[in-house]
């Protein structure tokens, strides 16, 4: 690569075109690009010569960063992409230069060979060809110097050339504005930035799809007004006239905390884009590896009503992410993966590489620029607003923080696991609320049956709200006071009601009849039993481990924040036979 020089530009006096004819091809290193000022200076030097006095001035300067292409002079996109350091607006293109989409092409125009050749509209001359940009094999964009609008469907030919096609829509005429955009700040590594305008990635002129700039900071001219109309569609919250510049590079092995910035280019001139990216030690997994973590699924058909268990009940979330049982560090990387540079898969109809916040909430929800679905720090996922996560690895049950759609930060409750250790498979283990500190008496009046529960009911109603430290599923023991005690499995509860997996075997009548729910009421299948509970308050517990062949073990304990561990003492019963 060599620096682009003013001598690499051709001034076509006949067609009033300034064109880069050098050998350098994009992407252009910033250091190699030519400043608009240098081009302007060369033009001014050239046009004050005797031989050029009969030619109109191609350029004027308003400020050191604002230049105009005047008197109907033309510059093409490929040439624009070699320039930096100043904005260019055109004056005098209206009804002089027609910009048109051409499709149905069998032969593309050859640049610059076909420049200046007569363009025919339905076989009648309509102007001269100034530039043709190939979109794909049978589509292109033409710039024609002509005063007459070219109508949709016109058959286009070029004298002395095989170039052809059909006008795809009416031609447009008016002035262009290329605003100068440059980035500043600290970039981690040497990433390639990319930009979007009008919901489309900025790319090289012609068939090229990558950007025309090289790695690192950029200083480029971006077409933001064409034929007098600002580009943009106001979609995804990006207003007309705005562009977004992203750094979402995955190539750095150290990982990068990303950044992006949205800037209004409508005013023209030189517009700054501040960016700051840093090392992301939580994003070091190989791209190919993360690509396989497809069990992390983002659903966008919200709102999703979810209760994080913080006691505030259900809240709405826009998107719901099934973590697939993965630890949240992996979830974090996967979510970055689907929004990284080059990702075109859609998230709620937006390419992942362009995704910034919940679609439709741009400008309302604060974006998390370093990772659009949420950041990760200290082993904890901080979800972006409107993002619900679930089904993460149990170890990460508390390692996240969310923001519901209303903007309220939500934290999962603190878990208080009850662990009964030193058991063996087959041991029957029960841990229940006791009637008092150091009491081994089970509180069988933990609940009072509410009303009459008929035989065959699939629920048990109690008189008090069921506390959050109740296991989400388990067993409820109901006492037909003075008569019997039945053990039913429940699959869930809400407010005052336990939902049963079975039906009641008899009738219960409150307030005589009572019930209680042991925290652990199972048979061990390994050397320990763990029941995770949401910590609500300290609780007095009584624990029992029994199995034929050992002496019954019973002890008391207190459930505190952080949980409690009870170590069973299995003493052989040498008496039984």
């Amino acid at each position: 690569m060599a620096a682009i020089d003013v001598n690499d530009y051709t001034i076509d006096y006949i067609n009033k075109v300034i064109r880069y004819d050098g050998v350098e091809t994009p992407p252009h290193p910033l250091a190699d690009m030519l400043s608009v000022n240098a081009l302007y200076s060369e033009v001014m030097d050239t046009f004050d010569e005797l031989g050029q006095m009969d030619d109109t001035m191609p350029m004027s300067a308003q400020t050191p960063t604002d230049y105009s292409l005047i008197n109907g002079w033309f510059i093409d996109e490929m040439t624009i992409q070699t320039l930096k350091g100043g904005a260019i607006t055109t004056i005098g293109w209206t009804n002089i230069i027609q910009i048109m989409a051409v499709d149905g092409i069998t032969t593309q125009a050859t640049m610059p060979t076909d420049v200046g050749k007569v363009v025919n509209d339905d076989a009648s001359p309509t102007g001269t060809l100034l530039y043709a940009e190939e979109i794909d094999a049978d589509e292109a964009k033409w710039w024609v110097r002509g005063t007459t609008l070219i109508g949709d469907g016109s058959t286009m030919t070029v004298d002395g050339s095989s170039a052809d096609g059909d006008a795809n829509g009416d031609s447009e005429t008016g002035n262009n504005l290329w605003t100068n955009l440059y980035t500043l700040g600290t970039l981690y590594g040497t990433p390639t930035l990319y930009g979007t305008r009008d919901d489309t990635r900025l790319s090289q002129s012609g068939t090229g799809t990558p950007a025309w700039w090289d790695t690192g900071h950029i200083d480029i001219l971006i077409l933001i007004k064409e034929a007098g109309v600002e580009l943009g569609d106001d979609l995804e919250g990006v207003l007309t006239g705005y562009v977004q510049i992203f750094e979402r590079d995955w190539t750095d092995a150290d990982g990068t905390l990303w950044d992006w910035f949205e800037v209004d280019l409508g005013p023209g001139g030189r517009q700054a884009v501040p960016l700051a990216t840093f090392s992301d030690l939580n994003n070091t997994t190989a791209e190919a590896t993360v690509a396989t973590w497809t069990d992390v699924v983002v659903s966008v058909a919200g709102p999703y009503t979810e209760d994080i268990g913080d006691g505030a009940g259900d809240q709405n979330y826009d998107y719901s992410i099934n973590c697939g049982g993965r630890v949240l560090s992996q979830v974090y990387e996967r979510l970055k993966y689907i929004t990284r540079d080059g990702e075109t898969s859609l998230i709620d109809a937006v390419e992942g590489q362009q995704y910034t916040v919940v679609v439709g909430e741009e400008g309302t929800y604060a974006p998390v620029k370093s990772a659009p679905f949420g950041s990760f720090a200290g082993g904890k996922l901080f979800g972006a607003r409107g993002i619900w996560v679930y089904n993460m690895a149990g170890a990460d049950a508390e390692n996240y923080q969310l923001i519901d759609s209303a903007g309220t930060t939500r934290q999962p409750p603190t878990q208080a696991p009850i662990t009964v250790g030193s058991v063996v498979a087959g041991d029957r283990v029960l841990v229940a609320l006791s009637i008092g500190a150091a009491s081994t008496v089970i509180d069988k009046e933990q609940y009072t049956v509410s009303g009459t529960i008929s035989t065959g009911a699939n629920y048990i109603d109690v008189t008090i709200p069921i506390p959050n430290d109740t296991p989400s599923s388990g067993f409820i023991r109901v006492l037909d006071t003075g008569v019997s005690e039945e053990r039913y499995t429940y699959s869930g509860y809400a407010n005052h009601t336990f939902g049963l997996n079975t039906v009641t075997s008899k009738e219960y009548v409150g307030p005589t009849d009572t019930a209680y729910v042991p925290y652990v009421d199972n048979e061990a299948i390994s050397t320990s039993i763990v029941q995770s509970l949401i910590y609500v308050a300290d609780k007095n517990l009584v624990a029992r481990v029994r199995k034929y062949g050992i002496l019954p073990f019973e002890t008391t304990a207190t459930l505190v924040t952080g949980g409690v561990t009870i170590t069973a003492i299995r003493t052989e019963d040498t008496i039984v036979t």
């Binding site: 001014m44 030097d45 004050d48 005797l50 009969d54 004027s60 300067a61």
Partner: protein, 525 residues
């Protein structure tokens, strides 16, 4: 030496009408009247009652009057004569031996052409008579008579009538010759004083309402040894409408000689011919030592001819015949609505300037009859054909039969051309295009590239660097107002660079001049 009015060289008395001797005819109560007369001691008279009188005539020795002699006679009717068309006043000329049967009657005036009182009647013996009895031969005029036709009856005094028709001082000729001393500054008033003297009463110069009325030719000086020192200053000279006089009868004719001076000085005066009969203004006589005419208006004149050594400035020639300045200094004059096909015969010498030609839509302003190069110094043209052609109304008619080059100078209009047979004309109107280039501090900028182009067709008119004076200039052949656009650029490396400037303008007959201030380009690298 005082003024001398010669009324005999070009005028011949027929009868001063101070007696009835020599008169014959049949007018009632024909008699000498010594109480009513205009010249001498009496007039002749008779009466008629609302009818046509008999003719009273006076026999003379046969005279050939075909050379321009006009009959002058004063006539007066105390009643009311009939109209001219019906012969209110009549002059009768007889010819030949049988003159009683060969005479011509001219209806020289009437109540519609002449006022009351004594009126000078003048008729060219060569004019067409209103009545001709027999055959009148103007080369053999032997008697001059008068007659009246009145609408009113003569006043009777008892059984007698009082005469109501009078005539006096009958002459024939062409006019007066005026001479003077070399420093007399004689003028129309002095000539009139002599003319109007009862002794003469030629009637060539009359006066009414402070204006002089000239009937005939006024010769100033002579070609022998005469001297004339004549001035005309703020006078009004009228030449009356009279269909019975010759077309060249009215004239002012200076003549010079090699012995004594002829000084003619006209200024601020107005000379007008009231009718179709133009007055000839031929100042081209030889040996006129000084002829100056300034600020005068010649209205409805015939040919106006001048010669070398004369100075004709700031005059108006309105509805005149061909004006021929010849080699006279001819500047600041206006030639308006010429009544001939070309208003002026352009001199071959460069002695004209600042002439203003105005056309009523017909005729050329200038006739060029000789090939060569001519200078049009600040001449302007208005009302002429706007393009070259052959309408007859082009500014210039080149009838030289060859090549003519016209150089327009000092901002004159570029004339349109009609070329006669085998003629061709090149018009050069060189005006300056000047652009002065300065910086914001007013300092001259050297080596600024300055270009000027014609808006129509983009023809390059100038493209050069400014000199150390900051000026770039070129000449331009002006034809008509020309729209231009200009460009000034200086942005070469190695010296101060400036923002370019451009603009538009118009090259007029005065050229184009502009001062352009360039602002330093502080943006450029």
């Amino acid at each position: 030496m005082a003024i001398n009015v010669d009324g005999t060289t070009n005028m011949t008395d027929v009868s001063m009408c101070d007696s009835t001797t020599g008169w014959a005819g049949g007018m009632s109560q024909f008699a000498l009247d010594t109480g009513v007369y205009v010249q001498g001691t009496g007039s002749l008279s008779g009466w008629i009652n609302a009818t046509t009188s008999a003719t009273e005539y006076y026999a003379i020795t046969s005279v050939d009057m075909s050379g321009g002699d006009h009959i002058y006679v004063w006539m007066f009717c105390s009643g009311v004569v009939d109209t001219q068309a019906l012969g209110g006043y009549r002059v009768v000329l007889y010819s030949g031996a049988d003159y009683i049967n060969n005479f011509a009657t001219f209806y020289v005036g009437g109540n519609d052409t002449h006022g009351t009182g004594w009126q000078l009647m003048c008729v060219d013996a060569s004019a067409s008579p209103d009545l001709e009895t027999g055959t009148f031969d103007n080369t053999d005029v032997i008697a001059v008579g008068v007659a009246f036709k009145t609408l009113t009856a003569a006043i009777s005094k008892g059984k007698e009538y009082i005469n109501n028709c009078y005539w006096d001082a009958v002459r024939y000729g062409t006019g007066l010759i005026i001479t003077s001393g070399a420093t007399d500054d004689i003028d129309y008033e002095q000539i009139y004083a002599v003319d109007n003297n009862n002794t003469y009463k030629y009637g060539v110069i009359q006066k009414a309402y402070s204006a002089y009325v000239q009937t005939g030719e006024l010769t100033l000086g002579g070609t022998g040894t005469e001297t004339i020192d004549f001035i005309m200053e703020n006078d009004v000279i009228l030449f009356p409408s009279n269909e019975y006089v010759d077309a060249d009868f009215y004239s002012i004719l200076p003549l010079g000689n090699t012995t004594n001076p002829t000084y003619i000085d006209l200024s601020g005066s107005y000379l007008k011919s009231a009718g179709a009969e133009k007055f000839v203004f031929d100042m081209s006589g030889a040996n006129i030592n000084t002829f100056v005419m300034d600020g005068c208006t010649l209205d409805n004149a015939g040919v106006c001819t001048f010669t070398t050594g004369q100075t004709i400035t700031n005059n108006v020639f309105a509805t005149c015949g061909l004006v021929t300045p010849a080699a006279a200094t001819f500047t600041g004059n206006k030639i308006v609505n010429s009544n001939v096909s070309s208003a002026m015969l352009y001199p071959t010498t460069d002695n004209t300037a600042e002439l203003e030609f105005i056309s009523d839509g017909t005729g050329h302003a200038i006739l060029i009859s000789s090939t060569g190069t001519y200078t049009f110094d600040e001449h302007t043209f208005d009302g002429y054909a706007s393009t070259d052609g052959s309408t007859g109304n082009e500014c210039v008619y080149n009838n030289s039969g060859g090549s003519v080059t016209i150089n327009i100078i000092n901002g004159g209009d570029t004339p349109t051309i009609m070329n006669g047979t085998s003629a061709s004309t090149t018009v050069n109107n060189a005006v300056d295009i000047t652009i002065h280039v300065i910086d914001e501090d007013g300092n001259n900028i050297e080596d600024a590239q300055v270009a000027v182009y014609q808006t129509s067709g983009d023809t390059e008119l100038m493209n050069e660097d400014t000199l150390s004076t900051g000026i770039a200039t070129e000449t331009f052949n002006f034809v008509s107002d020309t729209a231009i656009y200009w460009r000034v650029r200086k942005s070469s490396t190695g010296s101060t660079r400036y923002f370019p400037r451009n603009g538009t303008g118009t090259i007029t007959s005065a050229g184009f001049s502009a001062t352009i201030t360039l602002a330093e380009d502080t943006i450029i690298q």
